[in-house]
């Protein structure tokens, strides 16, 4: 087996049909290595979330090939086998939990995915451990419902879930964009901790190229459904080849660079 986790060839995903056909992902090809951190960077509507959902097997490709561990993702009849290995954290931690059940019971719900469910006692213990791993005392969330916690805490609950499931791959869809600036750093910290402890492959989906530069081994720039540029962070951000990447980098406000020249603006 190669050290490639994902491989895509001419992968496309379209919605609707006829005149209303929308191509969300347009013939992209790429590969993601084992234990690599890859960032899918693009602006809203560029297709990055749809691509992530295909990696997660929540959307099926319309055409092209998408391999996981060398085998087509849709090839295995039971998608749960895929989800045991590939997991996700979502953008909005509040909408990611069901508001009718306690957080703890939902964390325990993650064990549904296990082939053999551990004993109740073991499940409780593992939930406690996962909570401690994201720096939350089990008592803090005892009997609590999602709406009773802060955004930062809820995002950590999503991460605790990953500590329970210990997948090989994590798809992180804008995990920091709904969190206040202050809590952002701690979310990143836990993600890095996850990566180290579980030696995971992480696919970051983000609009923030600075964040992508900071965390990744490789960056894919997406625009209008296509991957317009991919490579190591330094190449992509310091020596961009595609016009789109150049414009994107130019348009991002950066405290150390002139952004808008006001003398020419007038």
């Amino acid at each position: 087996m190669s050290d490639l986790k994902f491989e895509a060839k001419d992968l496309s995903r379209t919605f609707g049909h006829g005149k209303r056909l929308v191509t969300a992902v347009d013939r992209v090809s790429f590969s993601i290595k084992d234990r690599e951190i890859v960032s899918l960077v693009g602006q809203s509507g560029c297709g990055k979330t749809v691509l992530a959902k295909m990696l997660l097997r929540l959307e099926a490709p319309s055409s092209g090939e998408l391999l996981f561990d060398g085998k087509p993702i849709g090839g295995v009849p039971d998608p749960r086998q895929h989800w045991r290995k590939v997991q996700a954290v979502f953008q909005d931690p509040f909408s990611a939990f069901n508001q009718f059940f306690t957080i703890r019971s939902q964390l325990k719900g993650s064990f549904t995915l296990f082939e053999t469910k551990p004993s109740d006692k073991e499940m409780e213990e593992r939930v406690d451990q996962a909570l401690l791993a994201v720096n939350i005392k089990p008592k803090e969330i005892e009997g609590k419902y999602p709406f009773e916690l802060s955004g930062g805490q809820m995002q950590r609950m999503l991460l605790a879930r990953i500590f329970i499931l210990r997948p090989q791959v994590l798809i992180a869809d804008e995990p920091t964009s709904m969190v206040d600036a202050c809590s952002r750093a701690s979310i990143l910290e836990y993600l890095m901790k996850l990566k180290q402890e579980l030696s995971m492959t992480i696919v970051f989906v983000t609009h923030d190229i600075g964040l992508a530069y900071y965390v990744s081994d490789s960056i894919f720039i997406m625009h209008a459904g296509k991957i317009v540029e991919q490579g190591p962070p330094d190449d992509v951000t310091q020596r961009p080849k595609s016009e789109f990447t150049k414009k994107l980098l130019d348009d991002i406000p950066n405290v150390h660079r002139t952004w808008i020249d006001r003398t020419t603006a007038a």
Partner: protein
């Protein structure tokens, strides 16, 4: 220096909850805005910046109430002037708002020219529609829109970037003294964001608007937008100085935290370690004895939660931190020197 256009004097505002509790959402804010100036106000959700905006407009719609303090435009107070006078003389006329959700701000069943005409007629009763239309064409052309087409379109037919421009165009039709831009770019992608900010500069440089308040939750963005910055936390300004001072040499640990959360794509960034700050802002219904940030501050000292903090001048800027002089450089890492 010229006379200040906007003066805000110790403004205090509160919400009255159903249970009779008073939430002091804006708690003693003072600042001035001079001609041609842009002041940036940065703060996270719940810091009181949106309430402050309502206060500046003189719009006190229950449950929001004016506690004390004054807001003056060109020397005249706008507090306590009745709803109808406020509508006619202040809103859109002296102070214009560029709201956050530009995409939903235009009446979907009204052509752009009709909405714009309504705006002008609201302040100039009996104006001739023909003259008004020519004026609209001229103004929309000036802000880089295909005036004839845009004016005769319904909002649904316009792309997001154009809609944002239309909103800015309509808001500034009366050549207001102060423009308040409330997160005008947060829903936009970076390229549109840049175009919008460029447009705001043009309006200022051409003298269409006299001064501007730019409100955002992204402190680093203000580096390129405003000449001065005020950082707001829990209803108060915690730091207020020139853009250089606040961005590169913030003395309130909170300012540093806001700066540190931004990561930029340039060499050397990989080695920096953002400081994690957990917890949430305090409950403003109860009086707070000491520093409002103390609970979350990574460098808080023993007496911080109990000692009353006042805005004082430290190295040329106002800051609300007892230990501002010695705020260690390790908090955040946008330390000076990297300019």
């Amino acid at each position: 220096m010229s006379e200040p256009i906007l003066e805000v004097q110790d403004l205090r505002l509160h919400y009255l909850t159903r249970f009779g509790e008073k939430i002091h959402a804006v708690d003693g804010v003072t600042f001035e805005l001079k001609k041609g100036e842009i002041l940036g106000i940065a703060g996270e959700s719940g810091c009181g910046k949106t309430t402050l905006v309502s206060g500046l407009l003189g719009l006190y719609i229950p449950p929001l109430h004016h506690t004390s303090g004054d807001v003056r435009i060109e020397g005249k107070s706008i507090i306590g002037m009745g709803v109808e006078r406020n509508r006619k003389e202040v809103l859109g006329q002296k102070i214009a708002m560029i709201p956050q959700g530009a995409l939903n701000s235009l009446n979907p069943t009204r052509k752009v020219k009709d909405l714009a005409t309504d705006m002008i007629l609201a302040h100039e009763e009996g104006a001739d529609r023909k003259v008004v239309y020519d004026r609209l064409r001229e103004r929309f052309g000036r802000i880089g829109l295909d005036a004839e087409h845009v004016l005769n379109s319904y909002p649904v037919a316009l792309p997001a970037g154009t809609k944002q421009r239309v909103v800015i165009g309509i808001s500034t039709l009366m050549n207001p003294k102060v423009v308040i831009a409330d997160e005008p770019t947060s829903a936009l992608d970076v390229s549109t964001q840049k175009a919008v900010i460029r447009l705001l500069f043009e309006l200022l440089d051409q003298g269409i608007v006299s001064s501007m308040l730019f409100i955002t939750h992204e402190l680093p963005l203000l580096r390129h937008v405003s000449s001065r910055i005020a950082v707001m936390y829990a209803g108060e300004f915690v730091e207020h100085g020139t853009t250089e001072q606040v961005i590169f040499d913030g003395r309130q640990p909170y300012t540093r935290a806001l700066m540190g959360s931004m990561l930029s794509a340039e060499p050397g960034q990989k080695s920096k370690k953002p400081i994690a700050i957990e917890g949430a802002p305090p409950n403003l219904a109860k009086p707070i004895a000491g520093c409002r940030f103390a609970e979350r501050c990574p460098v808080a000292r023993l007496d911080c939660p109990t000692t009353k903090q006042v805005l004082r001048i430290v190295e040329g800027r106002e800051v609300r931190c007892k230990y501002a002089e010695s705020t260690p450089q390790t908090v955040g890492n946008m330390g000076a020197g990297s300019t």
